[in-house]
């Protein structure tokens, strides 16, 4: 029984799907650019119009890459959370990680006006948003983690995640009550989520966090498998639980934190993708799951981004709304069809 070979074909198909979707994503937009010129701009060939090249290279390409990074990163952190908490409903959004990141960003954007002065200038740089959002999600994750050590009940962990979400929502509304309209608007725009606001530099920074998070996730693939048996069994198989828990937490908060910082809070991708993948490829081996979830997350995010701009209008819909619009029915459909989440 050669387990891995069986899944090469679906993985390849997923990979091809991501590439096709990537091209589709780059070709579609408010300005109609012929396929030929899309290709030409990417591969640095002769393009009919210089503005087209500019649109492709400076706007659409970084956006597509951001979509791939956010989709795969969130999906992986969802997978890590689901395995770590042994809960099919876990994900960066459900467990309050995104809320934590939102709180961090809210404090920075809206708190800046409260603190005022020169301090505000430092606080409002993109970097401080990234740091604040990562710290916020790390903080919530640590709290959830502590709770999960004390309470063995995984339902309780979810409830705690939800409590954190409403707690941060409350703090955010208090902050927004006191902050000026401009800051409030900035925060609200951030919370819509956006894949298109990133310069190449910022994509580079995000990619760095993403890479570190993925490498950490990949480094504990084997132990993730063992965690499926529960912690006691994992321990009896020689797996160091505290160390792996720490690695998983760091990986998740790096991924979810940095992605939320740059692209805003994006719901459902983290929760839904691992389940969608398990439907398509019925396997629990993380050696297969991790690459499949990376590809699946990228594909879903590219689709959502295409949908966000599909009306062919000048406007791009908020990506956060699209992922929920697409993600929620899919999760409901899965749940009803299967009657339970197999995890």
């Amino acid at each position: 029984m050669l387990q891995s070979q069986k899944y090469v074909v679906p993985l390849l198909l997923l990979f091809l799907g991501v590439i096709v979707l990537g091209f589709l994503n780059i070709s579609l937009g408010s300005v109609n650019i012929p396929f030929k010129d899309v290709f030409a701009s990417i591969f640095n060939l002769e393009v009919s119009k210089e503005t087209w090249r500019y649109i492709i290279v400076e706007y659409r390409l970084p956006k597509a890459i951001t979509a791939i990074i956010t989709g795969s990163g969130l999906a992986i952190s969802g997978l890590l959370m689901q395995t770590l908490f042994r809960n099919p409903l876990a994900g960066p959004y459900v467990l309050g990680l995104s809320s934590g990141a939102s709180l961090g960003v809210a404090i920075v954007i809206m708190g800046a006006s409260v603190f005022g002065g020169a301090f505000a200038g430092i606080l409002l740089s993109k970097w401080s948003l990234v740091v604040a959002s990562s710290l916020g999600s790390l903080l919530v994750l640590l709290a959830v983690m502590l709770a999960s050590i004390r309470l063995r009940d995984t339902m309780a962990i979810l409830i705690i995640g939800l409590m954190f979400a409403s707690l941060t929502a409350a703090v955010v509304s208090v902050l927004s009550y006191f902050s000026p309209a401009a800051q409030l608007q900035q925060y609200i725009f951030w919370s819509f989520g956006s894949l298109g606001d990133l310069s190449w530099n910022e994509v580079g920074i995000l990619a760095m966090f993403w890479l570190v998070g993925l490498v950490l996730a990949i480094s504990c693939i084997k132990n993730l498998d063992t965690l499926l048996l529960g912690e006691q069994y994992a321990k009896s198989l020689g797996v160091s639980i505290p160390r792996n828990r720490l690695i998983i937490i760091i990986a998740t908060s790096l991924l979810a934190g940095s992605i939320t910082a740059f692209a805003g809070p994006i719901a459902f991708v983290g929760l839904a993708v691992p389940h969608l993948i398990r439907q398509v490829i019925p396997v629990n081996n993380h050696r297969i799951l991790v690459p499949a979830v990376i590809l699946g997350g990228s594909a879903l995010m590219l689709i959502c981004d295409i949908a966000a701009q599909l009306p062919g209008q000048e406007y791009t819909l908020p990506i956060n709304a699209i992922t929920s619009l697409i993600g929620a029915p899919v999760v409901i459909w899965l749940l009803v069809r299967k009657r339970k989440f197999l995890f």
């Binding site: 387990q3 693939i221 529960g230 069994y233």
Partner: protein, 264 residues
């Protein structure tokens, strides 16, 4: 059945088990001296709440002893590196595996984790061991089923196969026969007996099946009133140790048939 020349796999010296917090110690059982040798089937018997699980957790190194020593292959358990311990002791716990979506093959294959490379690739030897343990437990036909499709009895067999695949000289099972009907209880215990003979492993299990244990086990560890008595079923029968396992009145031990009966 006693063969003194056999290798000692598990030994405790003046062991106290229980829980300790910063302020107080709760002793569950004290001064435990037992020895388990290669190829022995050993039952841990006692009423609910007497501390069988705590005892097994201490024996398997999951929980620290309050006092005394646990020796696995003559080495103190706390000093054994966790990966090495994984090649010495395997467990079957009462908590069910969390992910019921695992296939039987996948679950049994997880027994090979201590031996696989960093990404968990199964070598030819691993596949051979998995196949052998599936055969030994008699569940080859189940290997492509998902765990949620299995009955309790089948799942228990799968968990035992996983422990066997881990290829350890000592296997510890916590109540492997709960939730099973009488037939499957006997089946699982008989299977354990067969495995000790076939693979020369030492198998220690906690159970409430006293009547079956008396018939099948090489040794019985009786836990009562913070004390532990151990011996072969015959020795314990002769010393009358069984008559005090349960509170007086409801159930009595009938020496003639070597089994417990309800007091008429």
């Amino acid at each position: 059945m006693d063969q003194p020349e056999q290798h000692s796999i598990l030994k405790t010296i003046n062991l106290d088990i229980g829980y300790s917090t910063k302020t107080e110690k709760t002793i569950i059982a004290e001064a435990i001296d037992i020895e388990v040798n290669q190829g022995e089937l050993v039952a841990v018997i006692g009423v609910n709440g007497v501390g069988k699980s705590t005892f097994l957790r201490t024996l398997s190194g999951v929980q620290d002893a309050l006092k005394g020593k646990v020796l696995v292959k003559n080495e103190q358990i706390q000093q054994i590196d966790s990966l090495e311990l994984a090649s010495l002791v395997s467990l079957v716990l009462t908590e069910q595996p969390i992910s019921k979506n695992l296939s039987v093959f996948e679950l049994v294959a997880l027994g090979r984790q201590p031996y696989t490379n960093w990404i968990g690739r199964l070598s030819k030897n691993d596949l051979r061991q998995i196949k052998k343990s599936l055969q030994n437990v008699g569940i080859e036909d189940l290997q492509n089923k998902k765990c949620y499709e299995l009955s309790d009895g089948q799942l228990q067999k799968v968990l035992i196969a996983r422990a066997i695949a881990q290829n350890t000289p000592l296997v510890i099972l916590d109540e492997p026969t709960t939730h099973l009907d009488l037939y499957h209880k006997a089946y699982v215990l008989k299977l354990l007996k067969k495995l000790t003979r076939k693979t020369n492993k030492a198998i220690v299990f906690a159970s409430h099946e006293i009547n079956l244990a008396i018939q099948l086990c090489d040794k019985i560890i009786l836990m009562q009133n913070k004390k532990v008595t151990t011996g072969s079923p015959k020795e314990l029968l002769e010393s009358g140790a069984f008559s005090t396992v349960f509170p007086e009145g409801l159930i009595i031990f009938d020496k003639a048939s070597a089994s417990f009966k309800i007091n008429p």
